[in-house]
């Protein structure tokens, strides 16, 4: 309705068909739409073209070292949580050219890379992933050096988040103060409500960009009853989290236990496979590779994802500072829950539980932290 005053905390109600229309509007606006999609028996963030591509009725089950999905007849669009990839893959790609260089008679020229980036609309971003993005912003945008590729994608991205009304056993966002409800940082935030026979979404506006998009849908403001229904679902979801972490004084407690025998015990299980760093929405280590073509006339420098679990991560003149698996696991955990706090004013963990699910030997950070800080 043109007369409805839209402000940044307006909540609207949208039907299923409104939601389907929303996606079509985004397509018309030339967004590349990234949303949860089933692929290879997992739900990952991938490109979609319509609401039908979403994992409708799919539910996930996660435990340490275990992940599977199953079909249900719920008809819900978002009845699952997070899968093996995160927004990180889009903002901080696995490989990226930093510069190209060309030999010339005076030596060489360095060519700045002009990134061709896509305008992304992310739909279905969970609170933990939203917080994960904000955490990565601190690394790539807030330091003395700002990553231009990251900034470009970030500035153009539209984020439509989803408040979680379900959870997996591996989730612990409440402990990390990053969920299940999305607080800030979204353009639009959805809460899906399916109380047969009704199926609708509460859409909260979070920014001017969000306002612009939603105004094209001509939605009604949500009623008190509709808003409460959504809030109740979220409130209920806050109960019964199986996993938690005590974050009070965690930074100091973990570091104090630098010599704990628990690290040695973990090292007997950890494969240093780096799965946890790959699925983690906040891990940011990268390495560089310099290559030339066969003639040696053109060179490029590429940045690639790296992990502190690799033995060469800490290589320096002829040796590795952290050669043992124990020291590498310890570095990862201490960085995430201790050093990060001093570096970026926040924990490097958003409680998404991916590292627990995707660890092939099922190492559970919430368990290990309890043991170490006992």
């Amino acid at each position: 309705m043109e007369n409805t005053h839209i402000n940044s905390s307006s909540k609207f109600v949208a039907s299923q068909s409104d939601f389907q229309k929303l996606i079509l509007i985004l397509k018309k606006e030339n967004y590349t739409i990234i949303a949860p999609k089933v692929k290879d028996n997992a739900i990952i963030y991938d490109e979609i073209v319509s609401a039908e591509d979403l994992p409708i009725g799919i539910k996930d089950k996660q435990e340490k070292g275990k992940y599977f999905i199953e079909k249900t007849s719920s008809g819900k669009y978002f009845d699952f949580v997070v899968g093996p990839n995160s927004l990180k893959n889009y903002f901080f790609p696995t490989e990226k050219i930093i510069f190209k260089a060309v030999k010339n008679k005076n030596g060489f020229d360095i060519l700045e890379e002009n990134y061709e980036t896509k305008k992304y609309a992310f739909i279905g971003v969970r609170s933990c992933d939203l917080e994960g993005l904000k955490t990565q912003d601190k690394v790539f945008l807030n330091g003395q050096y700002k990553d231009s590729y990251y900034k470009k994608i970030r500035d153009e991205a539209l984020i439509i988040s989803v408040n979680c009304t379900t959870k997996a056993d591996t989730c612990f966002c409440v402990s990390m103060n990053s969920g299940p409800a999305c607080k800030t940082g979204f353009d639009l935030s959805l809460t899906e409500i399916k109380l047969n026979p009704s199926h609708y979404f509460i859409i909260e506006v979070g920014s001017v960009m969000g306002e612009k998009i939603i105004s094209k849908l001509k939605l009604l403001l949500a009623t008190e009853k509709e808003i409460s229904a959504g809030e109740n679902l979220i409130e209920q979801n806050k109960n019964n989290f199986i996993r938690n972490i005590e974050t009070k004084n965690l930074k100091e407690k973990l570091f104090k236990n630098f010599e704990s025998p628990i690290w040695d015990e973990i090292a007997t299980r950890c494969l240093s496979c780096a799965n946890c760093t790959m699925v983690c929405p906040t891990c940011f280590c990268s390495t560089v590779e310099d290559i030339t073509d066969l003639k040696g006339e053109n060179a490029k420098r590429i940045s690639k994802w790296d992990s502190c679990f690799t033995i060469e991560h800490s290589y320096i003149h002829g040796g590795n500072i952290r050669s043992s698996v124990k020291s590498r696991y310890r570095q990862w955990l201490l960085h995430k829950f201790s050093y990060w706090v001093d570096q970026f004013d926040t924990f490097g963990c958003v409680g998404c539980g991916r590292c627990i699910t995707w660890c092939p030997v099922g190492i559970d950070v919430t368990e290990e932290i309890k043991k170490i800080t006992k």
Binding site: D109, I110, S148, C285, D306, I316, R322, H335, Y339
Partner: protein, 277 residues
């Protein structure tokens, strides 16, 4: 790209103006650029890029006053440095920087300065020595203790002789292995500390060398009564980006590339004795 990123991420081509062999595995190159203006502070480093091969962080070892060239003393230890060791004058090397923190000479005004260098550690300290000598009257006693492996591994021999001749500069050099031609002291650099008489309550120390050497030197200095916030050390770690986003150079919460490489020891003390940190 924002202009502030240009210097930090894209190497600028510099020409090797001079190449000098210092010892059997160490050499010094002078790099000049027609188009770039630069200045640096003692203690900072550049990332030197060899076309298509890779980059290596190297401290700047020249005089920071009116610097017209970037001077780097490099030890040939890995792929990139071995390649640089074969470079000829006139070749082009990419440079990005300068990066990192500097030796805080301003903290030492009116105080004594003790500089302890081990091996190639003298290279990142040379700019601050120049700086100190340029403003000698601002400081009380100044001493340099330098330990090298053997006589053939001593860097900047001629300069050391010039410094030794100064009346207001206390210089002691020792080697780990003596030989026929060496008439000076033989023994590890920690043994030189007790030969200096300084008021340890009014002294700032700048130390650079292998971590194990710094560990023992620190023990001596702290035993003598120096405080953790009066001692500065230069640390080294694996570096890729030099701007604090690749995660490689971290020591605990500190990024060596931007919080260091020069650190007040109080910032490092919780980490220094922890193995495999």
């Amino acid at each position: 790209m924002e202009t502030n990123n240009f210097d930090k991420i894209l190497p600028k081509p510099f020409i090797v103006k001079k190449f000098k062999k210092e010892t059997h595995d160490t050499f010094t190159i002078d790099l000049i650029s027609k188009s770039s203006k630069f200045d640096f502070k003692p203690g900072q480093f550049n990332m030197l890029y060899l076309f298509g091969i890779g980059e290596v962080p190297v401290s700047i070892s020249g005089n920071a006053q009116n610097a017209k060239t970037f001077i780097h003393t490099i030890r040939s230890v890995g792929t990139v440095t071995k390649k640089i060791s074969k470079i000829k004058s006139g070749s082009v090397i990419g440079v990005r920087g300068p990066f990192g923190s500097h030796w805080p000479i301003e903290e030492a005004k009116g105080k004594n300065i003790l500089i302890i260098a081990g091996g190639i550690g003298l290279a990142p300290l040379r700019p601050v020595i120049y700086n100190i000598l340029d403003q000698r009257k601002s400081f009380n006693k100044v001493a340099l203790l330098y330990g090298a492996r053997s006589m053939n591994d001593i860097l900047y021999y001629k300069e050391l002789e010039t410094w030794r001749a100064k009346l207001d500069f206390d210089l002691h050099v020792t080697v780990d292995r003596g030989d026929k031609n060496w008439r000076g002291e033989v023994g590890v650099v920690t043994t030189l500390i007790k030969k200096i008489s300084m008021d340890w309550n009014n002294t700032i120390a700048f130390i650079c060398g292998p971590e194990i050497m710094m560990r023992f030197v620190l023990e001596e200095l702290l035993d003598l009564g120096m405080k953790e916030n009066e001692i500065y050390i230069s640390m080294e770690r694996n570096m890729k980006c030099a701007v604090g986003i690749c995660g490689h150079c971290q020591i605990g919460k500190e990024f060596v590339c931007k919080d260091g490489p020069v650190f007040k020891f109080s910032r490092m003390k919780d980490y220094f004795l922890k193995r495999e940190l």
